[in-house]
């Protein structure tokens, strides 16, 4: 009886022990085998993935001059748990921040993690770094991490080069390569060639202990990857020419585009007003960006590829070329600029009348080109005015107008060449040459960008073809690395002999006794050009000029637009002339002209 009772109790005790052991094993099975989340937690605990930032590729001009390079900058990191700051005020003075900023930054870091480092103060310059590092031993828990910042030896070409900033949520969503705090090209070449310039991030896997102290590399670094430096981009741009053009455009609104007609490489691309690219680097970037954004002169807009203007008289040559090619007129065809022929568009110049095509270009005779345009639309071989306009529209596209070149900086616009459909819609199908007459002199619905205008000069200089204008001439160290559409020869389908006619007329603009740009003739070589004065509903006319030089074998084609400055010959022509002189001869021998441009331009505020 007794024995049985105690045997029972022995079994109960045995059972309790076995049940506890069983519970443990079941619990451990769930903990260790079923539940996967602890495995992840353990990795996050121990492995610290330290990103090795690659140096961003640099950008060179056509002569090998550095336009953008990297400069070391330093982020100050903090591990809040280890941070000891005896004298907060002294610390703030050291970092040049105010106490309020100190508090918010420290609080943000603590909120992120007390054990993991976070950026306390970003992008400290090399100079400040040298000063701070000497005192930093007083502040445990703070340390530096090297980053790079863009630096511009010459403060030029801000619109072309673009800027670099921290990635936003959209960037990270689009491409998971980007992580918080990474840099990405935000505009210009930096944006277009982002994938080339950025290189590949490396990853160092470090093991850390509970206090976040590094304990060496994980598996002796066999999983580490080295960063690969971004590729360099070599531009067709001439930094000196660009700088000079920017200087000439100071205080003026507008743009200058210069192209190498042989290759389509852009030699200079200036949009004015502009800004120092160094403003959008470093800690002041946000502040400066907002100031530029709110500036009423809109310096952030790249007018060279994003501004559209009526081409005015510069457009007349194109109509002449189409008319000659279609046989609508010939070299000898003359139109009177007085009397009946003068209507509906009057001539603004005084010259002998009637004129043939060559002197008509030279004298920019409006009635001649109205008649020319009408003769295209009424040309029987083009099957009626509407079909003729379709043909004309296609020809304009061939000249690189009305569409984008897909050049290598973002925000390029197409301009506008009105189509038959457009007029059918607007005029309910009943329209004719008379209705659309302003097309004959480059007014009305026609809008071109300065880039397209410069390309037009290149086409004429080349006598009939162009390469889509682009900035890069080489990407990385290997040849033939350009996007293929930049090296595709584009033909206009108009005979070279007609171009020669137009060219010689443009030569007379500089060289002829009555040429509108004769005052800006260059001694060393022959240049050809055409002024334009585009009517502008918003104010004073825009001054336009297109040119190329040397006449026989053009090396530079240029377009200049100076907004609201009146006749093309006043401001746009001398700028083009000086820039061609600098590019071809390498020096400026007419300082008085330069002086005049810099000093006598009316203050935009007074207009």
């Amino acid at each position: 009886m007794e024995g049985k009772k105690f045997n029972e109790r022995r079994q109960i005790i045995t059972l309790i022990i076995l049940i506890v052991g069983g519970i443990f094993i079941v619990r451990l099975f769930f903990l260790q085998v079923i539940n996967q989340s602890y495995k992840l937690s353990s990795q996050n605990n121990v492995l610290r993935f330290v990103t090795q930032y690659p140096a961003r590729g640099t950008i060179f001009d056509r002569n090998g001059e550095l336009m953008v390079y990297n400069e070391a900058a330093y982020d100050l990191l903090v591990i809040p748990r280890q941070a000891v700051i005896a004298d907060t005020l002294a610390f703030c003075r050291l970092l040049k921040i105010d106490i309020e900023s100190f508090r918010t930054r420290f609080e943000a870091a603590r909120k992120y993690s007390r054990y993991r480092p976070s950026v306390f103060l970003e992008q400290i310059s090399k100079e400040d770094y040298g000063y701070i590092i000497e005192k930093l031993y007083n502040y445990p828990g703070f340390f530096f991490q090297a980053r790079t910042l863009r630096k511009y030896p010459r403060p030029i070409a801000a619109h072309v080069l673009g800027d670099v900033g921290e990635v936003n949520n959209n960037d990270m969503e689009r491409d998971p390569v980007y992580k918080m705090g990474d840099y990405i090209g935000k505009s210009g070449l930096e944006k277009f060639y982002e994938k080339t310039l950025r290189g590949h991030k490396g990853m160092k896997i470090m093991m850390v202990d509970v206090h976040n102290r590094e304990k060496g590399s994980y598996h002796d670094g066999i999983y580490d990857t080295l960063p690969i430096t971004g590729k360099n981009v070599y531009l067709g741009m001439d930094a000196r020419l660009q700088e000079y053009g920017e200087k000439l455009m100071v205080n003026k609104t507008g743009s200058v585009v210069a192209i190498d007609p042989e290759t389509g490489e852009i030699l200079a691309l200036i949009s004015s007003p502009n800004y120092d690219p160094n403003l959008l680097v470093g800690r002041a970037r946000g502040k400066n960006f907002n100031e530029l954004l709110n500036n009423p002169m809109k310096p952030l807009i790249n007018r060279a590829i994003g501004g559209t203007y009526p081409p005015g008289s510069t457009f007349k040559m194109i109509n002449a070329l189409v008319a000659l090619q279609t046989g609508s007129i010939d070299e000898g065809t003359r139109f009177s600029c007085q009397g009946k022929g003068s209507s509906p568009i009057k001539c603004t110049h005084s010259h002998v009348s009637p004129l043939s095509v060559q002197p008509a270009i030279e004298n920019s005779c409006n009635p001649f080109f109205w008649n020319t345009f009408r003769s295209i639309l009424t040309n029987p071989s083009l099957h009626g005015q509407k079909k003729a306009l379709e043909y004309w529209h296609q020809k304009m596209l061939d000249f690189g107008l009305g569409h984008r070149f897909k050049t290598d900086i973002p925000f390029e616009v197409a301009g506008n060449i009105p189509s038959r459909d457009f007029y059918d819609k607007v005029y309910n199908g009943s329209w004719n040459a008379m209705t659309v007459r302003s097309l004959s002199i480059g007014q009305g619905e026609i809008l071109v960008t300065p880039l397209q205008l410069a390309n037009l000069a290149a086409i004429i200089g080349n006598e009939g073809y162009y390469y889509p204008p682009h900035l890069a001439r080489r990407i990385g160290e290997e040849n033939d690395s350009l996007p293929p559409h930049f090296t595709k020869k584009m033909e206009t389908g108009i005979d070279a002999r007609y171009y020669r006619l137009v060219k010689s007329a443009m030569l007379d603009v500089f060289e002829g006794g009555g040429g509108t740009a004769r005052r800006f003739k260059i001694k060393e070589f022959q240049a050809a050009g055409k002024t334009g004065t585009a009517e502008n509903p918003h104010g004073k006319d825009h001054s336009l000029f297109m040119a190329f030089a040397p006449y026989d074998k053009p090396k530079i084609a240029i377009a200049v637009v100076v907004e609201n400055s009146g006749f093309g010959s006043t401001w746009a022509a001398p700028i083009a002339s000086l820039m061609m002189e600098l590019y071809i001869t390498g020096e400026i021998k007419r300082p008085e002209m330069e002086q005049f441009l810099l000093e006598n331009f009316p203050d935009p505020v007074e207009q």
Partner: protein, 419 residues
């Protein structure tokens, strides 16, 4: 001479092997927990594994001494040993050093000793000696009171040293008393009290009291409804309600803040992963990350880089879990189960009450340590800092457990000589 020879032939060899296996696992885990490249020599006394190797060596010597001791010594000197221990516990309160919040250490130079560890051994001896007396019967109230007194006295002294964990260990002796014939009602009542305590922390006291009332009212339907039954139920209700109401008071006023937060974390009422929950959370990460087969010896990252605090002492189980995985933890638990089963079998085969009671004391104390320690590391019990027997780092506890176990082995080997 003849006796000594028989000792080593009659010794329960499987238990000795289990003991050696556990200390070896312990030492390997300590080595892994504090391993670093700079100190590779296993004899490096500046490192914990070096020291533990020394402790193990000394423990084996101690075990040998215990085996050579005359069995009559244990019974005859039980009360003297007990009183000496009580004296030490008082002395440590007066002259001891405070380590990690517990004033429970004698420190002589580099050498530290914790009398509480040895109190478990001597309490077991005293309880065994007392119940062995011919005039004691567990059914007697006097016997019950004195037995409980023997157990509670050292527990109170240890509690006064702020070493709650070690004090709680003495509750394990309830199992011994149960085996010797104590009514299971105290056990069941204790269980109910724990359940009520937890329920009260989860829900408000009012809901728990309503729940009790509903249960008691329902029980009326299944019993005879006379005045006596109703009076009894009312009495139960009154006591239970009083208990429930007092829980809030005890929890807020009697328990220390760290004890409160540990209980809150365990019950999931508080998820403070950086504070009180940190240990357990990190411990679970370490064990959980081991997976089925573990990361391999010395490959554990959580324990090596100190994510788990106290990982070579109270949280040594994490290292086993991380480096040897589910296989390793199951094997370790299996070893303990085998040890406990063996010891129970040995206790039951003793001829003397002394040996049997002592044997059950050994099992109960070891089991309590095992259960609370592992339950704590896998988040089933609040963080109570008591070591895992034979495995955790520490000289005092290893020696105390060794003496305890080997004394029983000696008694067992000598059982046939007991008349």
């Amino acid at each position: 001479m003849r006796e000594n020879k028989s000792i080593f032939t009659q010794i329960e060899l499987p238990v000795v092997l289990l003991y050696l296996a556990l200390t070896l696992i312990g030492w390997l885990s300590i080595y892994a927990a504090v391993y670093n490249e700079e100190h590779k020599s296993i004899f490096d006394i500046s490192q914990r594994y070096g020291k533990q190797l020394l402790w193990i060596g000394l423990a084996l010597v101690l075990g040998l001494f215990v085996m050579l001791t005359d069995t009559r010594f244990f019974n005859g000197f039980a009360f003297i040993i007990y009183l000496v221990t009580i004296g030490m516990l008082v002395a440590v309160l007066l002259f001891g050093s405070t380590i990690a919040g517990s004033k429970s250490w004698f420190q002589i130079g580099d050498f530290k000793l914790q009398p509480a560890e040895f109190a478990k051994f001597s309490t077991g001896l005293a309880l065994a000696a007392f119940l062995n007396r011919l005039d004691t019967y567990i059914s007697q109230t006097r016997t019950k009171i004195i037995s409980i007194g023997i157990i509670v006295l050292p527990a109170i002294l240890i509690l006064m040293q702020y070493d709650t964990g070690s004090a709680l260990v003495f509750s394990a002796f309830v199992l011994v008393l149960f085996r010797e014939g104590l009514s299971p009602i105290p056990l069941i009542l204790g269980l109910i009290a724990v359940v009520l305590f937890i329920l009260t922390l989860y829900f408000s006291p009012l809901y728990v009291i309503i729940g009790i009332a509903v249960l008691l009212a329902l029980s009326l339907f299944f019993t005879r409804r006379n005045i006596q039954v109703i009076m009894r139920l009312l009495a139960v209700f009154a006591v239970a309600s009083l208990f429930v109401v007092s829980v809030g008071f005890v929890f807020d006023s009697v328990l220390e803040p760290h004890q409160r937060s540990r209980i809150n974390v365990l019950l999931g009422l508080d998820e403070d992963l950086r504070g009180a929950g940190y240990n357990v959370h990190q411990s679970k990460i370490a064990i959980g990350s081991g997976g089925f087969a573990g990361k391999g010896f010395l490959q554990g990252t959580q324990t090596k880089f100190n994510f788990v605090p106290e990982q070579s002492t109270d949280f040594i189980f994490c290292t086993v879990g991380e480096e040897w995985g589910f296989l390793g933890t199951t094997v370790l638990i299996g070893l303990y189960m085998m040890l406990f089963m063996r010891l129970i079998r040995m206790a039951e085969r003793q001829r003397s009450t002394f040996s049997r009671v002592y044997g059950y004391s050994v099992v109960s104390v070891l089991f309590f340590h095992f259960a609370i320690n592992i339950a704590m590391t896998i988040g089933l019990a609040p963080v109570i800092g008591i070591p895992l027997p034979f495995v955790s780092y520490g000289g005092s506890s290893l020696w105390a457990f060794t003496i305890m176990l080997f004394a029983f082995l000696k008694l067992d080997a000598n059982r046939l000589n007991v008349l």
